[in-house]
Amino acid sequence: MMTLSLSKDTIQVLKEQDVVFLKNRIKETAVKIKMGLVNQTRLLTAASELVRNMMRYADGGVCIIEVVSSGRVNGVRLTFSDRGPGIPDIQAAMRDGFSTGKSLGLGLPGTKRLVNEFDIKSKVGQGTVVTILKWANG
């Protein structure tokens, strides 16, 4: 089914205060479309993982918050784009336990498990774009 975008909000994330602001905006959006508490938590946790990656590897970037609709259900779509170094091997990055930084390597694969749709595009030297979508009841 066609997915329509109903509203769009672009937020710059450069410093730690921006992260708090972004999370609040995402939460407001999720509450507005009557997303259940558990799904809100999943969405916010996923966003938290992605925004941390953006801060750690690319010194920040931009997040677009969209309310999307496919017929009768609404959802929240988040697009994180940065101009960082990019990911050379996306397939490896999507495996559990893989990390170039000092972390558990759960970030990307874990995030994917928390949302309904997950898409990642990256070009070395140009940046990374990650798009996630969570339906209100999915």
Binding site: E16, V19, L37, T41, S48, E49, R52, G110, R113
Partner: protein, 136 residues
């Protein structure tokens, strides 16, 4: 600098996290808590996260770190009051917090800590108390 207060109560340290953790705050907590365990030679650490609505992999790692570090300093860590939504999200994220003890609330957590400490003092080989549920 922002800090989360650490209270001392007998042989235990109590931490109640009232705000959503951001990275620096969590790192500070880790450092402060380990210092405190060492300084007070505490036998147990109780962390109440009932007011925390988001725990991502970084925060999860900090909690795990606190437990492992305290263990080395001979103190047990019990995390109490995790919200259902947070528990579900952590499992799906792939972070079952291995080795961290959990309890439903402060009271049950305190009981659990006491029983664990009694045990280690009386007989190290004795069966674990049944109330003790180690997170899977």
């Amino acid at each position: 600098m922002d800090k989360i207060p650490i209270l001392r109560m007998g042989a235990f340290l109590l931490v109640t996290i009232q705000v959503d953790l951001y990275d620096r705050l969590a790192l500070n907590l880790e450092a402060d808590l380990v210092q405190m365990v060492n300084k007070t030679s505490a036998k147990g650490v109780l962390i109440d996260i009932s007011a925390v609505s988001i725990v991502d992999s970084f925060m999860g790692r900090i909690i795990g770190n606190i437990a492992s570090m305290s263990k080395i300093l001979d103190a047990e860590t019990v995390v109490v009051g995790m919200q259902p939504a947070v528990a579900i999200t952590l499992i799906e994220l792939g972070l079952p917090l291995k080795g961290v003890h959990t309890a439903l609330d402060m009271e049950k957590g305190m009981k659990l800590l006491k029983s664990m400490i009694d045990e280690t003092e009386e007989d190290a080989d004795e069966d674990q108390t049944h109330d003790d549920f180690i997170a899977e």
